[in-house]
Structures are given as C-alpha cells and as structure tokens.
Symmetry: C2
Subunit: 333 residues, 2 copies
C-alpha cells in the first residue's frame, strides 16, 4: 500500500477495502464490520451525542485528534450520567495524508475508547481531493447507557446550587494555540484532554440525585457553559474570579494574546451544578480522583428571572461574564 | 446575521448560538437540544450506522447533500431490517458558504428524516476556514429499532439464494458526474436518491426470514456489494448481464466515459438475497411499490469455497465481475 492516502482509498473499491481491512480495522474489537449497520443490545434508556473534530494541528502536546475525538464524545455522554457503551467513527481524509499519521490517530482513538469501555461498532471512511479538506476530520457519535432514574440535565439546575469546577481551566485552548502558532512558552502547557467517565461516576456516586447537571466546558469555555445553563434553566449565576483555577502560565499567555481564560476550551474538565447539601460530598469525591485533584466550588446559582452570569473580581467589584462573541480560536477541537 | 458563514459561527460563542437557534434548529422536531447528549427510550435491539457525505456538487438533479445524508444512513439501517428511529447530524461548514445553501440542505435533510420517521436528536456544527473544506460535509449517524428475531445480515447468505435488484442501476453516479462535469446529456439523468424504509419493509413482510440479506449498492456499486457478500459468506455469485436493469442513457454515458455501470453508485436501490422459496413473493411485493417497480431477479448465489462473482454476458460467455479498483468517481456521496 502506498504510504500516503490517495483518492483510490475513497473509491469504495478494492483499495478502500484494503484500507479498511489493513488500517481502519484497528478500531474494532471484533472482526471488521461487514454489514451496513451494527446490531446492538440496548437498554431501557440510552444517551446519544455526536461531535465532529477539525482540530489543527492534528497532533499537539497532550494528545492528538484521535484522542480528542474519543474524549469529546465520551465526555458528552458522561455529563448526562451515561456509561459510554458504543462509538461510531466517520473519517474524512484529505488526499496526501501520510498513513503514519492516520495509524497514530486511529490507535489513540481506539485506546481512549478502550479506557472508557466504549466499543467502536460502526465506521465510515471518505477521501477528498487535495485542497478540499485539511488532513483529517473525524466525527464520532457515542451511545451510552443510563441507569439513574433521574439523570443530570440542564433543566434540573436550581437557585442555591453550588458550581463545582474539576480543575485548571484553559489548558487545552492554550496548548493548541501554542502548537499552532509555535509560541515560545517558558513552561510548555499540555492539553488536559482526558476521558472523564470515571471522575463523573465518582462524583455521581457521591452526590446521587443532588448532582443536578454536569457539562464539559469545551468550545466557548466556562463562560459558554454558565450562560447556556442560566438561559435554559431561567436562573442567574454568580462566580468568584479568585476561586476559579487557572494556571499562572495560562493566565499570562491569555493576557498577552488578549483572550479570557474563561472563554478557552477544555477537554478534560467537568462543571457540576449540585444541591448545596450534596456539594461538599461531590467535591470531596472529585478531589480524591486523579483527574479532579484541583476541584473547587467557584460560585452558586442565583434566582431568575435575570439570567445573568456575574463574576466577583479580586477588587471586590462585579462584572458580567457574557457569552463569548466573535471569532475566538477556530479549530480548537 | 451575515448571509454567509464566517469563522465566528464556529466559535462556540454567541454567533454559534445564534446559528444553532436560528438555522440549525430546523432539524429538530422538539426544542433545540441544550444538553450534551440526548436521552432516548431504546428497545431490546438497536441497529447503528454512520456515514459522512462529501458529495460534490452540493446540489444535483434529484437531490442535494442534505437529502443524500438522510437517505444514505436511513438505507443502511433498513437493509438490516431496522426501523429508522433516531438520527444525529454533524456539520463541517467551510467559511463563506452561503446561508441560503445551508438552509436548503437542512430542510431537505429534515424532510427526508420526517418521511422515514427518524427524529434528529443530536447535532454538532463546526466551521473551518476558507480552503480547509469544500462548502459542506455532513456526517449522519442513524439508530434503528430491530423487531425481527433474525434480522437480515450478510452472514445468512447461502447457495441457491436469488439475487434481486430493485430497479435501474447507476443513475446516481451518472447524475453526479453529469452535474459536476456539465455533461450535455440528451435526456437528463436524475439521482435515484430516496429513503427505502417502506420498500424494504414491504419486501421483508413478503419474504420474512427468507430475506437473508439486503444491501444498498452505493459507492462501488453492485460489483462491490456482490464481491463483499461473496467474500464474507464464503460463497460465489452468478448474475446475468441481460437481466441487470440499466437505463440506455446510463449505459451509453458509462461507455463513453469508460465506466462500468455495475461500479456506479446508487442511492435508492436495494439488492436482496432471498431463499429460492421466498424470492417470488419478495419480487412481487417490491414491484408493487413505487420505488421497486423495475425490480428483477438478476442471478443466484453459488456454492463456495470459490468466492468469485461471475457475469453471463449477452454473448453467452462468462466474465469475472471484480471489486472496483482504483480511483473511479471521487466524492460521489
């Protein structure tokens, strides 16, 4: 097989067939899938989510597009209280992609799925001509199994809920930006890209139905999550700037670039909205987990109808934290 | 809102939010989805399939990428005997796409899903900068419900099975090629793009468990389907060239371009492998359906272990019908 992807790899003929059986097959635990749809045992309630990944560059400190494609979808399932069970993988490959890159990415994707207990059950591979894509785009769709009677959901967020963040914010955004722009950072920042099935499970075990909602603050960052939930649930939010964990290097890099770390993407963090009764237990459970060691309560939900998100600054003043507007960082995930 | 897509539409901030609520929302039957994953009632067994669509041009005689993205995934479910229930939609939009095109495509996608009874339950929208994509790529993942005890599957194909094709082959391939190359066809050919849930249902009702397998011969055409099934089931196939329905204009265009109509993509045809007992009933049911009027038996499955697909030509000779090799037609679906 040639060592780069050619249009023939996307033809649906023999070359495609070889690509699937020799390379893409690494995604599947069982034999290659020959039928047009996989047949699965399901359960009473399932959670479904889909995400396309167009991150640039394809490999970055702390991960690559394969790890990200698994992580992003796994995390969208776990924030609904679902156990990741199945995954589909759609690849759009640009002609000329080195096969070595494809191999690395597929292996990352598979090993991240394995880690979270999700089996890849269906896939699709397309090739577009040079200049009509950018290396590799990946779509993953995840199916999870829900066992809780009342799974966490944005609609359950209520005044007095405590807002917990599971660690440092903005690492993924800065890591991608630094890799893309070749920024000379004194201390290199790695993406926080990680599947959160186990952290979420521990937090839900500790807080039970007191965990009203969870989100992973990806594109648009914490600011987008807080504003979206406030709008949906018809509540306000008030958070404390000094309580929000941001690494000094991330803060410094953001300041230089004129970015707000609360707008930056994260790929390994949870934001949980918990009843005030359950919050201390959820926090304790999160801190015991390796991915939640730096968890902290950053603020609380306030009564509506004013669905404003405000931040208490270190100067004691209060500012509105608005939804990020404009271009921000394209192709961050 | 600007009338073209900008990078800000993919930022995850306010502009994204507006795009989702003002444009993408048309996909959803219920309110816009605010949580990261949709929670669904499932059933004992579900079928799952995923497909990315990169067709060029985005609009063509007989359809557009939206109709195709719904149809392709619906048809992959129905060939497994599944009733389409849920759909996810992942959009990768190139900066500069006119919003009018996006609107048309989303409406086609939604109405095709409605026709087949599939609800769009989750979605994702990414924007890539100009030159890193080509207008619009769409991933759809479909979830279907299986009720038959033994759904059709490639592994059930056996010697003596009759091979039924549900109508004229090659229409989609020629329609796309003509639209792309601006070929001056005397009689314009339309894509056969159509959701086959109802046709498949009628055929399965008529043939029951005698319908051993079904496939939709998309990329790679009939030749790819016959070769894949032969290899998987360890059988041979023998088909009759004169029995295979191909429109004269499609045959003529293929000959001029040096293409084999049996390698061309179809987006509204079924190939069914049926026990010899059930085949006449399945054929009759197919012919009664508007999308199966030209159904016909084109050949039969022969014993393995020689997994060769052969065609009896009009001259009485026999040739091997091999898996399509090489480039064929890129971006046909």
């Amino acid at each position: 097989m040639n060592e780069i992807i050619t249009l023939a790899h996307g033809s649906g003929g023999e070359t495609t067939h070889r690509l699937l059986s020799e390379e893409i097959a690494v995604l599947y635990a069982s034999e290659a899938q020959w039928d047009d749809a996989a047949v699965l045992a399901a359960h009473e309630r399932i959670a479904v989510t889909t995400d396309s990944f167009v991150v640039s560059p394809l490999e970055f400190p702390g991960g690559d597009i394969g790890k990200l494609a698994a992580t992003g979808t796994i995390n969208d399932l776990v924030v609904r209280g679902a156990r990741p069970a199945y995954m589909t993988v759609g690849l759009i490959i640009e002609e000329g992609l080195p096969l070595s890159v494809l191999r690395t990415v597929l292996r990352s994707l598979r090993s991240t799925c394995d880690e979270a207990g999700a089996a890849v059950v269906a896939g699709d591979t397309k090739v577009v001509e040079r200049g009509s894509g950018d290396g590799l785009f990946i779509n993953t769709t995840g199916i999870g199994v829900i066992s809780a009677a009342e799974p966490p959901g944005a609609g359950r967020v209520a005044p007095q809920d405590q807002v917990i963040v599971s660690g440092y914010l903005g690492d993924h955004g800065v890591a991608i930006l630094a890799a893309r722009e070749d920024l000379p950072l004194q201390t290199p920042i790695e993406s926080d890209c990680a599947p959160l099935h186990d952290l979420a499970h521990c937090m839900l075990q500790a807080g039970g139905e007191g965990v009203h909602a969870m989100r992973d603050p990806t594109r648009g960052g914490l600011a987008a999550v807080l504003n979206e939930i406030a709008e949906y649930a018809g509540v306000g939010m008030n958070v404390d700037a000094q309580a929000i964990p941001v690494r000094p290097q991330v803060m410094a890099t953001s300041e230089i670039l004129g970015l707000d770390p609360l707008h930056l993407a994260n790929e390994g963090k949870l934001v949980a909205f918990c009843s005030s009764q359950s919050a201390p237990k959820v926090l304790q459970a999160a801190r015991r987990h390796p991915l939640g060691r730096h968890s902290t309560i950053i603020g609380e939900v306030t009564p509506g109808p004013e669905t404003r998100v405000t931040v208490r600054t270190s100067l004691g003043t209060t500012r509105v934290l608005s939804m990020p507007a404009g271009e921000l960082l394209p192709r961050i995930c």
